[in-house]
Amino acid sequence: MATGTADTTIGAARAASPTTQRVQATLARRRAAETRFRLIGLSAVILGIGLVALLFASILSRGLPAFWQATLTLEVYIDPEIVDVSPAPDAAAFDSQAAYEEAFLGWQTELARTNWGRVLRNALLAYLPPEAAESGRAVEGLIASNERFELRALIQEDPGLIGETITFQGLADANIDVWVKGNIDRSLPDDRLPLTSDQRAWVEILLEQGVLTQEFASSLLFNVDSRSSPASAGLAGAFVGSLFMMLIVIVLSVPIGVAAAIYLEEFAPRNRFTDLIEVNINNLAAVPSIVFGLLGAAVFINWFRLPLSAPLVGGLVLTLMTLPTVIIATRSTLRAIPPSIRQAAIGLGASRVQTVAHHVLPLAVPGILTGAIIGVAQALGETAPLLLIGMSAFVAQVPASPMDASTALPVQIYLWQGNELRNFFEARTSAAIIVLLALLLSLNTIAIILRKRFEKRW
């Protein structure tokens, strides 16, 4: 109705020309089209943001609880009767280093033969009703099996503790954690529950006494993966493996990619050969990542005889995958630099290399950084090619170098996702995703900061 009145006022002011009338007739339709388009766009954005929010909410709500884990804080008496080992050898008492090392090894073996489980069991029994002593195995099952080795390491570090009572904090068994967090249906029949009725009763007692509490699980971040003691499985190995690979990807793909892009864009003549290269680079960017994995297995492992499961090989494979992304991003950035800058430099007598190095490249740095970060982030989240070069193996140590066997964060997520202890590893999987996302976000933040810094220099 509004348009109707507008029509008449204009019409009344001066007789509208036929053109004006025709244009006016189309106005409503054009406005409607615009409104429609805006609404569609807006709803697409809202839908996108909503889905991302949903994803984050789901991951966070599942993963965050895994950062707090059921932990037992025990007064442990290091009973000299159980820990019956000779005194630790003293380096000063030996003539040679070799002799000392041999003696130390023998002492270590003695420590390893000690029944640390019994030490912990006794400590636990102090909090439990006396009849619990009859089912020792069930009592020992309350605490993560890995804690025996933690205790051993503690004593090996300080043998003076033998005969003392120490406060020891150890992770509870994975099933206890799940039970305490309420992730096991308590109405299930006894034979389908992972905990015996005795164990459930003990858990209640330990909770009441404040022995069993939820503590921040640093083990998730600093431990390596573990099969025998799921409660203490951590991400350290995968994290370091991923870091090594990222380092390799950045060090290789950025310089090579940028150099290739600069050559193709600024120096290479346009002919059939460079056309062919260009088509191939664009095609490479579209090759499924698993194919790169096959290539890596065939070339790097079979041919160059590089070790299996090594972050070095993973990094090389991911570099191949990232290169096209870096090259394409860099080329489009270079293309966007106004030719007038190049002409100005060339007109002054700058050589082509000088033109590129002094004028084009500084302007292209922000764009190149963006491309590199997108490429590296993609590589960081890549799983498929790593499976083919053996990086999905179970590795229970932190790789000391890129040549050591390792897994990667996304592969660890994949492995945990398939772990048979479903209800415990569900949270752990999400927690690993959170760590991966945090790594990606910090990578992006660094990129944004760097970009802003370079952009300031006009």
Binding site: S340, I346, G347, G349
Partner: protein, 298 residues
């Protein structure tokens, strides 16, 4: 170059300028660059040609853009290249410092001699040529760096300044010559892209003269500027003529008439007519020239 030159008087003395210029002049023709700084008399004269071209043809791919241009660029004069759009005047201009080399598929034949030397000779380094033949473009294109860096870049890559002080002197002298010093002397560290259009173009001129070229090519340097900025640039061109040989492409008949001593009229890739500017504008010999300068086409 007005009253305020107290702090650094000596470097901007004309003697110093003269030596800086001869630095780049080839020994063979040393007399040429330094010998003629005095103003040339207007009108019909026979000056030593700085650049001589013989049968210059330019091909873009298979199409011929210039059909054998034969002309002379007189030293220490302003030569205007006029003609309708697409007539090849900019193409010809770009032949003189081999900017056409950077265009994919462009090919130049014929001979262009500068001080008797073939600038398309294989033994000639194009970098040296471009140091001797400066260029100012249609759109002001300062580097996205500071005003100081804009001027200092050329001298730096060519190693013209031995010390920082010398470099600063070159920057100051170039800016003074371009008539920009007073406006920017307090903000040399600010970006050159922050200046107004006219200032930017003068900055580009200052940048070009900072390497003490012998020839300055200007490709429609005022087409993106307002009349006041244009007037300043024209004044500047007239001043620069004393030290440099200038070739200017322009679409403005009045500009050609105001600033140049020699005019070449291009049409469809041919050099239709050339001669003293006065003669071209008052008494053109060719019908096409007459039609163009009187505004009947173009």
């Amino acid at each position: 170059m007005s009253a305020q030159a107290e702090p650094k008087q000596p470097p901007s003395s004309p003697v110093e300028t003269g030596t800086a210029m001869t630095d780049l002049t080839k020994p063979v023709v040393a007399a040429d660059g330094a010998g003629a700084p005095s103003a040339q008399p207007h009108g019909a004269n026979r000056v030593e040609p700085k650049v001589t071209t013989t049968d210059v043809k330019v091909f873009y791919g298979s199409s011929e853009a210039l059909h054998g241009i034969q002309t002379e660029i007189p030293a220490n004069q302003v030569t205007a290249l006029i003609g309708p759009s697409g007539c090849g005047k900019s193409t010809f201009l770009r032949c003189l410092n081999r900017m056409n080399d950077t265009i994919e598929g462009a090919r130049v034949t014929g001979k262009i001699l500068m001080d008797g030397e073939d600038i398309y000779d294989k033994s000639l380094d194009v970098v040296l040529l471009r140091a001797r033949v400066g260029m100012v473009f249609q759109k002001p294109n300062p580097f996205p760096k500071s005003i100081f860096e804009n001027i200092a870049y050329g001298p730096r890559i060519h190693g013209l300044a031995k010390s920082k002080g010398e470099l600063a002197d070159i920057v100051e002298r170039s800016l003074k010559r371009a008539g920009l010093w007073d406006e920017v002397k307090d903000r040399l560290k600010e970006p050159g892209t922050g200046l107004s259009g006219g200032q930017q173009q003068r900055l580009c001129i200052a940048r070009a003269i900072a390497v003490s070229p012998e020839v300055i090519l200007m490709d429609e340097p005022c087409s993106a500027l307002d009349p006041i900025a244009t007037a300043r640039i024209e004044e500047l061109i007239d001043e620069l003529r004393r030290n440099y040989t200038i070739v200017i492409v322009t679409h403005s008949m009045q500009q050609a008439a105001r600033v140049s001593q020699k005019t070449c009229f291009f049409h469809l890739g041919d050099l239709v007519e050339e001669g003293d500017t006065d003669q071209i504008f008052t008494n053109p010999r060719d019908k096409r020239t007459q039609d163009y300068i009187t505004g009947r086409f173009g």
